[in-house]
Point group: C2
Chain length 227, copies 2
Amino acid sequence: MASPSKAGAPHRVRLNRERVLATAIALADAGGIESLTMRRLGEELGVEAMSLYNHIANKEDLLTGMIDAVFAEIELPSHSDNWKAALRKRSVSFRDALSRHPWATALKDSGTNPGPATLRHHDRVIGTLRNGGFSIALAAHAFSAVDSYIYGFAMQEKSLPFTTDEEAATMAHLMLAQLPANEYPYLAELTAEYVLRPGYNYGNEFPFGLDLILDALERARDAQPAG
Amino acid sequence: MASPSKAGAPHRVRLNRERVLATAIALADAGGIESLTMRRLGEELGVEAMSLYNHIANKEDLLTGMIDAVFAEIELPSHSDNWKAALRKRSVSFRDALSRHPWATALKDSGTNPGPATLRHHDRVIGTLRNGGFSIALAAHAFSAVDSYIYGFAMQEKSLPFTTDEEAATMAHLMLAQLPANEYPYLAELTAEYVLRPGYNYGNEFPFGLDLILDALERARDAQPAG
DNA sequence: GAGTTCTCCTTACGTCGTAAGCTTATGGTG
DNA sequence: CACCATAAGCTTACGACGTAAGGAGAACTC
């Protein structure tokens, strides 16, 4: 029943690095990074696991390539916007990318050398700051602060054991029932009166911290010796 | 040949969950989380791998327990300090803990339910903010912003492929030589004139972002409708 | 069209987490 | 003290993992 070829022409679709990476990303998106195995990836591509090694060096190379592909999805800061607007846009885009590919957040460590898309991204962010009047040192500080926030936020978001608002509410109710309110009174209060409010969604916390940092960076920039 | 016992008294040292967790943490600290296998952990404890299952449910349970042990190491915010000083101290302590146990940063996701030390920690942080005059909503915002920053910073720090300053310098020189300066001019500039400066250490970036956020939170607190 | 190279497959190895079932040590009863 | 239930540890085994080695066939080069 599974005899696809048209007329005696099996003619397999050739593999290449891009197809391998794209399929690997799709698999990781769908089932989490732990569901991405060489055998399953091969299966998805209609090929045996070992054939993949003609296009990638090993699994770490695969993961590195996936990370770089995620970075390629991030909207680069536009040089026509002012630094703050540009940085804000790319930060939201960054968060969106990490949210679409939650496995990417945790994978940063295994990654050794950044790929070209990653380098390009970093270069443009630093360039935006420098052109916006940040000294080298302050640009380095700012870069670290903003990206740490984004990474950390994405990680916390991913670690939540629910996705939709209803799931969140159910989960919060459960937790609230479980945790002894007199042992963790503040946690209980916050859960009951904030998390359980209809429409609560942790993802909505993102802009607060982002703008907090961007506004503070603007003040730090203006306080510089003079650009 | 393998008859170790001294004088008819083999008398194995009994295992327990604490010893298992402590040894697992030591192993992960020393060789990275990927070097922590049930067999190696058993070996370290003078026991077969399967014996560990008398004290932990499975590997995920082990990892969850390890995370909670890390949280237990974090200095809780003191109620006698003002909120900002208290939060700053615990944030530095938090970063130190994640720096001592880099594997903990990435493990957050696998962790499903937080342990008691984790809950206690969260409760105290929220309590510090509430007593410091933060509304419930603002406390939630602040908690998210600060902890996202800390997590993200720890993750970036861990992902650096070097530890000591000299290693960093060597690596930066290498990278600088590799990356085409005209393709990534801003990155090259920052590397050459900031990262390669003697005494540079990425870890030193931490206080900048932390104080940036804490100061901004203070302003946000003071701008509240009135506490 | 002959030779070379690249792609893909088969088989196999060592390592992982852990299920099942055994043996031995421990500690509570008479 | 003897007795024995329970808990702690050991042995063996299974299926999944990443990937080394080497062979078969297709696709390009000249």
